[in-house]
Subunit: 340 residues, 2 copies
DNA sequence: CTGTTAGCGCGTTCAC
DNA sequence: GTGAACGCGCTAACAG
């Protein structure tokens, strides 16, 4: 049988209350007594039963998710996953709330964080807008003891406890190798469609992509990046225009707004053999993968990201370790054969 | 505040014990009383607190993992993941034991299952050898109420509650498309190295592979399958021998024992440009991917499989639902750029 | 500073 | 058939 608080109380010759004070690092214990108790804990190999403790405390984990108010499939999916997590809340003792902030607006995000730092959430997960002022507030909150996790997009050089998202440089590199290998000996130009170079994930994907292209596929030239603002209409216009260039043999779409890309491809490239790699599995990209308009999709699993953020925030709130491998968000590569 | 057993007892005008009998479907309650209680449960939206119940019962989940005694990196990794799970046992209330059986030996597996069915494990996870007699025992045990999960390799047409492994047909298809696309316009022959056609995962990978090859890459011909029994030595011999054929342009290794494959490739194919796809990320395949001996690795995350099997077995033991998306084992595709 | 006591939500004897 | 009472491992008043 596992030792309990009673056992260490007996072994240390003190009462339950004292053991509890030591366990929860509360004041009001002489250091001599404290050390007796700690010795007993070590000798008996005591492991605290978190479930019992939470039961006694009636504990719940108040968590806040801060999301950009963006109207694209990926964000809708992320929202849906959070709603699923809310459904599971009773069983997981979580109490989850979401807050929407204008996208790409550091000031708005900072305001929300300031507000939250006056409250008592035991954990915050946010899709970060990567700006110094956001980083500053986040760091201050971390120092004040708030567990903070970035979601999908990270905060450069911040103290956040964890990042629940994919390695975007690796994603860009992978896209480049896939495109290069699929094209084989063909030479030509590559069009790149991004959302905005103001977002860190997009910048990183581009960085990874261009470096592998330069190193390993010198026969392929990258055209100036098209910034579609993650908007299907803008993307459509830009891509349709670019496809006038007959030298293009491949396309890498590293942001959202793929509906516009797909439409442009179907209109303009019926007679061409273009190799296309895009990000995020949505109903649109899935259909395009199946009908061969897109050759491969790189994806991040929003469900995994949300569940991971919750596990990590709970663990941090309890001062516990996480299973690192379980919290690593994979870069999913989908061909038409391994779709979920 | 969430309703508790006290609330429904009060609402139904009965005592706690009666509520408990109804909740745990135990006899000794008149049907009138039972229905009163059930009505109260529904009306108050009662959700039982599993943690409190387990605390009261002092419950643990005795789980058994049955693994083949194979000496390859993948099985070593799987073992290591189970040991990690054993370390977490106190926190997860699990009590995990592993049993090794000779590989590819249905009779031995059946004997172990028979033995277990006389015991009281609340869940069994096994790397199944796909044979009718195994299926028969497993089905009987499922009917007797044992939660059973297959791990890595499934049991055709059985009643097992869940399969914690990748879709191997999809894996084979993905390998074929990757190989076909990487080879581009090149024509030639493809060598296939398997472990044994007695295990379902290998048969399925081959099936998926050959079908996509036939449908979409008619310029590539598949040579007769080499059965390396997942043994590095045997694999080395077979592959070294096969590479005497100068028409080979690609290799698909769908089993384990890749150390032998890699050695043969380095010895015999230094001067050739072979495209190679292999399964399972190990120290050996990882190194080979980095030095370009292998072009892509398809992988199943053993850690995910073990954690998933445990979650599912616990849920089944409690009659609870699982988060389907979380328990889906992805087919990981690794290029040298997205290694973990 | 330390100990006593009464729960948290549930399961399980026992009597009735 | 049904209910009262106690205990699971831990925390939180309140005494002392």
């Amino acid at each position: 049988m596992r030792p309990t608080v009673h056992d260490i109380a007996a072994a240390a010759g003190v009462s339950l209350a004292t053991v509890d004070r030591v366990l929860n690092q509360r004041p009001g214990v002489r250091s001599v007594t404290r050390e007796k108790v700690e010795a007993a804990i070590r000798e008996l190999g005591y492991i605290r039963d978190l479930a019992a403790a939470n039961l006694a405390k009636g504990r719940t984990y108040p968590l806040v998710f801060i999301l950009p108010a963006s109207d694209n499939s990926f964000m809708h999916g992320l929202n849906a996953e959070i709603r699923q997590a809310i459904v599971r809340s009773p069983a997981e003792r979580t109490d989850i709330r979401t807050i929407e902030v204008p996208a790409f607006d550091p000031a708005a995000l900072v305001a929300v964080l300031e507000e939250l730092s006056r409250g008592k959430p035991c954990g915050i997960a946010m899709v970060a807008t990567d700006a110094p002022e956001v980083c500053a507030v986040a760091d201050r909150m971390v120092r004040d003891g708030f567990p903070i996790v970035t979601l999908v997009s990270d905060l450069t050089g911040s103290l956040r406890h964890h990042y629940a998202g994919v390695d975007n440089i690796a994603a860009g590199r992978t896209a480049a190798r896939l495109l290069g290998r699929f094209l084989g000996p063909r030479k030509g130009e590559i069009a790149v469609l991004a959302g905005s170079m103001l977002v860190r994930d997009h910048r990183e994907r581009l960085e990874g992509f261009t470096s592998v292209m330069a190193e390993e596929f010198p026969g392929l030239a990258i055209l100036p990046v098209l910034e579609g603002r993650d908007d299907p209409e803008v993307a459509h216009m830009l891509v349709a225009d670019a496809l006038g260039n007959a030298g293009i043999v491949g396309v890498y779409s590293l942001g959202a707004g793929n509906r516009g890309l797909i439409r442009a491809l179907k209109e303009k490239a019926v007679d061409r053999t273009l190799t296309v790699i895009a990000h995020e599995l949505t109903v649109h990209t899935r259909a395009a993968l199946i009908d061969h308009t897109i050759d491969a999709i790189l994806n991040q699993d929003a469900g995994h990201e949300v569940r991971s953020a919750i596990r990590v925030l709970k663990a941090k709130a309890d001062g516990l370790a996480v299973i690192e491998a379980q919290e690593r968000i994979r870069l999913d590569i989908f061909l038409k054969d391994n779709l979920p």
